[in-house]
């Protein structure tokens, strides 16, 4: 069954898109990740214009982060003060990101930059995750559990000025790295159509030394607000948010995530992470392949004069 997308201006297979949303939702439930970094490339492979894929995926992430953020809020797992400082960066980052997106679009380079960003980030994250999970699996086989290196309480971050006290995170730290992290995630959300949890969570744990019980909640809070803002900014400056596509993905996504979360309970953490790493690297190499191999037709067309 085909359904016509009013903004992407093309028909897609209703069940296939629902299934894609469900599949990525399943994986995000299974691995406890957002899934934007898998969904956006998948939509592009399917033939959705990259600009529409990115903006629409930002809209979907709003839906998928709402329930998580709500649960963590009830458990007092959100540091709203630190979250607000992150958001200052997030707002700046997403405004810059959407502006950059529009500029790149008029130069005809947006598809390239989206692909390059994905290859770069998926490559790094996938490789790091793969190495880490392989070590964990070897350790488990060896039988001797190596104790986790306890992070020290101070690093270079703590020498920066503009220090603020965050009571819930039990932190006294400079606002600068928090704003910078927020801004980077904002730019990534606008250009790649991801929540950015894969950057933010490690940064919060390893750079800011936040306690893990507020990391997920606070990052979900930031993701929710930033992707909502990115959705509105893309809608106003690029007109690339396709509500019909977003609703299809949301429906598939929330159902898939439920099954994924249940299936994840029966699997070992390190094996799950190794599996996810392999998948991330597969998507990465597929995108890299498209960039490196000579296309069948060197020419492409775009509607509109380019300079908007």
């Amino acid at each position: 069954m085909q359904i016509y997308l009013p903004i992407a201006e093309l028909p897609v297979n209703f069940f296939l898109v629902l299934f894609m949303g469900g599949g990525v939702g399943f994986l995000s439930g299974l691995f406890g990740v957002g899934g934007g970094f898998l969904m956006t490339p998948l939509l592009i492979f399917y033939g959705i214009p990259p600009a529409v894929a990115v903006a629409t995926e930002a809209n979907q992430i709003v839906a998928s982060s709402v329930s998580g953020a709500f649960v963590h809020w009830q458990r007092r797992g959100i540091d709203f003060k630190l979250g607000s400082v992150l958001l200052v960066g997030g707002v700046i980052g997403s405004v810059i990101g959407v502006w950059l997106f529009k500029l790149l679009r008029s130069l005809g380079q947006v598809d390239l930059i989206i692909s390059l960003s994905y290859v770069l980030f998926l490559g790094i994250i996938g490789a790091l995750m793969f190495v880490e999970s392989m070590r964990a699996i070897m350790r488990a086989r060896g039988g001797n559990a190596v104790p986790l290196r306890r992070p020290g309480h101070h690093n270079w971050i703590h020498g920066l000025p503009f220090k603020m006290r965050f009571r819930r995170s039990k932190l006294y730290v400079s606002a600068i790295p928090i704003v910078v992290i927020g801004a980077i995630v904002g730019v990534l959300a606008a250009i790649m159509g991801v929540g950015g949890g894969f950057i933010m969570v490690p940064a919060m744990i390893y750079l800011l030394r936040m306690p893990t019980n507020v990391v997920i909640g606070t990052s979900l809070f930031q993701i929710l607000i930033v992707t909502a803002l990115v959705t509105i900014l893309h809608a106003t400056s690029n007109q690339t948010v396709d509500v019909v596509l977003a609703l299809l993905l949301m429906t598939g996504g929330v159902i898939g995530a439920q099954f994924g979360a249940r299936a994840g309970q029966n699997l070992k953490g390190e094996q799950l992470r190794a599996l996810l790493a392999v998948m991330v690297l597969l998507v990465c190499s597929r995108l890299a392949y498209n960039l490196i191999v000579q296309p069948d037709d060197l020419f492409s067309i775009a509607f509109g004069s380019g300079v908007e």
Binding site: E9, A228, T231, Q239, V243, I292, A302
Partner: protein
């Protein structure tokens, strides 16, 4: 009084009026002087894009009417149908390998290209009429004269040709441009039909179908039928909101997402 009045009306006004209309008719319909006229119809004057739209097919039909002055055409009649979609700017870009990666480099903008172009005829265009006539009427995909400008401002005729060819190739691949030299079918000496395939990717706007009648290479008659392609219902509403009230559209999209996420968390709440 009454009789006088009626008499006045008939003699003094009505008859000259009729004479005037009859006198004016040939001027309005120049085909009469050429002896052949075209009578055409189209299956649908508007294509509505709704949520289940996957493309459409238009059927155009017509007949060649002859009168006493019509002379016999040695080669019979030929019909050329040109359907043109709304004009829009289309940018063509060429990829080059830069540091091992294929990236867009040169670009040409075709500012008044048609969003849709279908050229149909009953036999090869070259057999129907002369090259100069084909150029004049834009008969043939390669005979369009779009305004082209190079992204760098430099003018290079050879490059322009390469990019024009790329434009035609890409639009043909999307089924937005087509040329079918067997697309018009004569059912009798005078009766013809043409089927025009409209793909799902069709742009919205006003379309014009030009139906041209040729005989022995000369244009005998011409008719233009207008049709429009528009989104309808929910598609129309969504598209209009997104383009005319983008801020409201964006906010609505966010609210929908929040509701969907909240609904899911209520539905799948764990005990």
């Amino acid at each position: 009084m009454m009789a006088l009045n009626r008499d006045f009306l008939i003699r003094g006004w009505l008859i000259p009026a009729i004479l005037l209309i009859v006198f004016l008719l040939p001027i309005h319909s120049s085909d009469v002087a050429r002896a052949e006229t075209l009578v055409t119809g189209i299956s649908d004057n508007s294509i509505r894009i709704s949520s289940n739209f996957t493309g459409a097919e238009l059927v155009l039909f017509g007949t060649v009417e002859r009168d006493a002055q019509s002379i016999a055409r040695r080669q019979g009649y030929d019909i050329v149908v040109i359907v043109r979609g709304p004009q829009q700017s289309i940018t063509v870009r060429e990829k080059e390998r830069i540091a091992g990666i294929w990236a867009n480099r040169n670009s040409w903008a075709f500012d008044d290209a048609y969003g849709f172009l279908a050229i149909l005829s009953n036999r090869p265009l070259a057999d129907i009429t002369s090259e100069s006539a084909r150029d004049e009427f834009g008969i043939g995909l390669t005979r369009q004269s779009f305004t082209a400008s190079n992204g760098n401002g430099a003018f290079n005729n050879e490059q322009r040709l390469t990019f024009s060819e790329a434009l035609l190739r890409q639009m043909q691949a999307r089924q937005l441009y087509s040329q079918n030299e067997e697309g018009v079918e004569f059912l009798s000496d005078a009766l013809f039909t043409a089927r025009i395939a409209v793909p799902a990717y069709v742009p919205v706007g006003t379309f014009e179908a030009d139906i041209m009648l040729f005989g022995d290479g000369a244009l005998l008659a011409q008719q233009t039928v207008q049709l429009d392609v528009h989104k309808t219902g929910f598609e129309q509403f969504t598209y209009t909101l997104a383009t005319e009230q983008p801020l409201i559209y964006g906010i609505v999209a966010v609210i929908l997402a929040v509701l969907a996420g909240w609904l899911a968390s209520v539905m799948f709440k764990r005990d």
